[in-house]
Symmetry: C2
Subunit: 318 residues, 2 copies
Amino acid sequence: MAVYTEVTDEALSEFLARYEIGPLVSYRGIAEGVENSNYALRTGQGDFILTLYEKRVNTADLPWFLGLMEHLAANGLSCPLPVRARDGRNLNPLAGKIAAITTFLPGVWPRRVLQEHCEPLGAALARLHLAGEGFMPARRNDLGPQAWGSLLGKCTGADAVQPGLGQELTGWLERIVSAWPRDLPAGHIHADLFPDNVFFLDGAISGLIDFYFACTDLYAYDLAICLNAWCFERDFSFNITKSRALLRGYTGQRALLPAECRALPVLAQGAAMRFLLTRLYDWLNTPEGALVVRKDPMDYVRRLRFHLAVESEAAYGL
Amino acid sequence: MAVYTEVTDEALSEFLARYEIGPLVSYRGIAEGVENSNYALRTGQGDFILTLYEKRVNTADLPWFLGLMEHLAANGLSCPLPVRARDGRNLNPLAGKIAAITTFLPGVWPRRVLQEHCEPLGAALARLHLAGEGFMPARRNDLGPQAWGSLLGKCTGADAVQPGLGQELTGWLERIVSAWPRDLPAGHIHADLFPDNVFFLDGAISGLIDFYFACTDLYAYDLAICLNAWCFERDFSFNITKSRALLRGYTGQRALLPAECRALPVLAQGAAMRFLLTRLYDWLNTPEGALVVRKDPMDYVRRLRFHLAVESEAAYGL
């Protein structure tokens, strides 16, 4: 459902002339992804991904995202490396949009999360956090706790999704924001490390992709996002075996402070709230018949209820 | 807009175990194409295309299509070669559909047809006709003249597209079918060789794809389809320079009989009628908001009017 922007062969050949990666050999629009237009691109020098940034990405943030990817790759993380044109630019105009070429990563994202995915995922997340150190500019998390109140305010009609939902969310939000931790270790986080952004090959992680929600925030919050994204079953039951494996993988690379461990329940609540709110907003504001598949916000209400009932980090296997 | 059928990594790995092309390395849904679901597939042995056949293709015809592709490739035509599983089968079940793996062809289809595309295209079409000789089974053209009357009969409401269109088409159809040539050279034809089915690389044709309308019919009818698909400008003016180049390319590989030349106007009328009718049918029967882009049938009314006004094959540059 992606590929919003069609690119002609002539425009693409002209665009590629800015780069030193050889002539156009083939390109095909990729159907996955919902934010940007992506093409599988082959040139004389091999395979690449061509991304045209669509309206949901703030173009002012693009240099930061690409700079982070370059920094992470330079520090040994397997992620798409932006290719620079002859003049050094890694962002160039194409078909009326801003576009970038990045390296192709082999691997397949798991459609069904298995226990054995979770330890490598945790380790990769910690390596991402460590690899990001030294990248100096910060990017505020636009979808952090300070943004949730106004996001919820825009979700008028929440009660149509489920009676009483609006009021329930307002109460939870107050509770989560007032308990939100301060002074935990922070740095650059992925902030959207769902299974479709993690490639596996032969049982090991071959790469992490899609850094367009990355920002500077609490490391343990990124972990809490992964607990939400990787450790619930389809019936919304929490799989503590997966959670333990994820945390074992993470702490094998980067130790968690006691304060980070203690904060895990509220961070997990916040992570569920963040995805709940953007899904709810999209649910209420996506026209019928649009090409984008709307994701059910109730999936995250159910996750959130689990985290709200948790008494301590022991519930996650810590 | 394609990829109707989602394939899981687990199902695909199991599917690939039937083949001898190595393990799964990556796969991505391709956004182009409207009839089937296509994936760009990489295995340990390189790049392939994975196709899952959707409901518009009659699965009983698939062995014929794949057999033709194998025959054409064996005779030197650059087209996707179906890959056979260990047990010799080139069609196998996947995700509730019938699927095939074919070889990856480099190249890019021209978004804007230029004069220099037309001579190589004509030559490739003739080579396809010659390469198809010796493939014994025949497949009747389901969308040939015998089918047009009933197709038009299903297009109730044509007058909503343009007042009087239904009656106009009935009159033209009678005229075309009664003048339809017999006893011209026949064999296997592509029957859908539009620009998006022809890959170019460095100015030469690198491959022809999408043989799922191929059938056994008059060779010159295939040429007439290409005249419609490649030689009209965006304002529906006929570009005789492109037509001359196309015919020069064709006759350089396979001479046209005088009877084929004389039949070109009525064959071109019939080709326009065939695409007009399927577009009109889809136009009238595609629900609003469907994921498929409807193509305007009036584009072919305008082409058809040109061919009806033609006095002889000289109009095409012969």
